[in-house]
């Protein structure tokens, strides 16, 4: 259903991905999912042709197969309510903290990634889960690791004629337990100062694998290889003590802004890493 009245922009709400890609091949469209980052009320954002993805059933929901596939238009509410392995607890905890319930009912994981805010709450959990994104366009479908997909603040590798169709979590990343911690100036409806996701695997009381990612402390959220290495092999009881500010800081490049100073962000991120690691081990 496309409408092209005189003064009006076209608005399309296709039911299939093929139709959506066909429209993108014909010319540039502004893609719309939950609309919670686009602010439809800001009018100008939606000048031009709009392609609404929310009526395409194949883009919503979580499916198990080779790994776990989360459709790009899956809402935060659907992620929070899904029955998922403990490794994904960090993602579900983040889902329950994206804005209020009204925002969680509309906002999607794909919108969060394509908007590519440094403070996007979905990113650290997905980095800790080794996520790969799937992009489909007229030229076909490709998969890109999330670390490559996000190229800078509000910048991604997505071509203008591509739809982000799914986030894929490889089988190997579905092990262990995880936790998410977020710090804002207030409890609700604020942009995060720092947020952390940690996924930990333990065998016989020893950490065998640690995946830790920090957001809002660099242009793009980062994994913390030094902190992960320091935890690997540690007895569970020593985990918190092995989290050192220096290991956290090396991976990050925090900015001074109205929300917090760079040095405060490092102190905060280190404490959040400690809490997330402890939370994952609980």
């Amino acid at each position: 259903m496309t409408d092209t009245g005189e003064d009006m922009r076209s608005y399309a709400r296709p039911q299939t991905l093929d139709e959506a890609i066909g429209l993108l091949a014909q010319g540039q469209h502004r893609i719309l999912a939950g609309g919670t980052d686009l602010y439809p009320s800001a009018g100008m954002q939606l000048d031009g042709d709009v392609l609404d993805l929310t009526a395409i059933p194949a883009l919503s929901g979580v499916t198990h197969g080779a790994g776990l596939r989360i459709g790009a238009c899956t809402t935060w509410t659907a992620i929070a309510e899904a029955d998922l392995p403990p490794a994904l607890r960090c993602l579900q905890q983040a889902a329950r903290q994206v804005g209020g319930r009204q925002v969680q009912n509309a906002g999607t994981i794909g919108g969060n990634l394509c908007n590519a805010s440094p403070a996007a709450d979905g990113v650290p959990p997905l980095l800790a889960l080794d996520a790969v994104v799937e992009l489909s366009g007229p030229g076909g479908t490709r998969q890109v690791p999330l670390t490559h997909f996000l190229t800078g603040p509000r910048q991604t590798l997505r071509a203008t004629d591509e739809v982000l169709t799914a986030v894929i979590l490889p089988d190997a990343a579905l092990y262990g337990q995880s936790s998410f911690e977020k710090l804002g100036a207030r409890a609700y409806l604020v942009i995060s100062i720092a947020m952390v996701a940690a996924r930990i695997q333990v065998t016989n009381g020893q950490i065998t694998k640690a995946a830790i990612a920090v957001g809002a402390c660099s242009g793009v959220a980062q994994r913390l290889p030094a902190a992960e290495a320091a935890l690997t092999g540690a007895p569970v009881a020593e985990a918190a003590a092995r989290v050192r500010a220096a290991d956290v800081a090396t991976a990050l490049s925090p900015i001074d802004d109205v929300r917090a100073s760079a040095s405060y962000r490092i102190v905060a991120a280190t404490e959040l890493v400690r809490r997330a690691v402890t939370g994952a081990l609980a």
Binding site: G35, R101, N105
Partner: protein, 170 residues
């Protein structure tokens, strides 16, 4: 463009620019001014309506996106002769000062009590399996998308707690 919306159980045809938000469609095109515009940016919750029973911010939803869904606004929840349980309890407990946020609070709380009945935990729930006693902290967390500039929060919480009790008693 011409669209047809199912609002409070009746089908309404309306001709609008596709960029029109559901909020503007309700208020300016359909004469349903119970739904309020506070921020127009998803932050205050004054525009909360139910889409197929789920609460959303009407200011972040395009009217065309609501086609095919059942839209419920404050006007559809009850009337002055037949108040919904939440509407009645907001009156009993003075759950407002100026009243501007109230329609959004009541629509939001209506969906919130349904979520609770369906066993959905919140970020504040200590046990994800439930049950979820409606403590002050649970209500504050679950209603965090609705601000009240008059800070009538304590009375809003009382109203919701009592409406939940009415529901349990039934």
């Amino acid at each position: 463009m011409q669209i047809s919306l199912d609002i409070n159980g009746s089908l309404r045809d309306v001709y609008l620019d596709p960029r029109t938000t559901l909020l503007d469609a309700l208020r300016s095109h359909l004469g349903l001014t119970g739904t309020k515009k506070g921020c127009d940016h998803g932050q205050c919750g004054a525009c909360t309506v139910l889409l197929d029973g789920r609460r959303v911010n009407a200011c972040l939803t395009l009217a065309c996106m609501a086609q095919g869904a059942k839209v419920t606004t404050i006007e559809g929840l009850g009337s002055s002769d037949a108040l919904s349980p939440l509407q009645a309890q907001f009156l009993n407990h003075d759950g407002f000062q100026c009243g501007f946020c109230t329609p959004g609070q009541i629509c939001s709380a209506t969906a919130m009590l349904e979520e609770l009945a369906a066993g959905w935990p919140s970020h504040a729930s200590t046990d994800l399996e439930g049950p979820f006693p409606l403590s002050h902290a649970e209500i504050a967390e679950r209603m965090s998308g609705n601000l009240c500039r008059c800070a009538a929060y304590s009375n809003i919480v009382d109203a919701i707690q009592n409406a939940a009790k009415d529901g349990d008693a039934k």
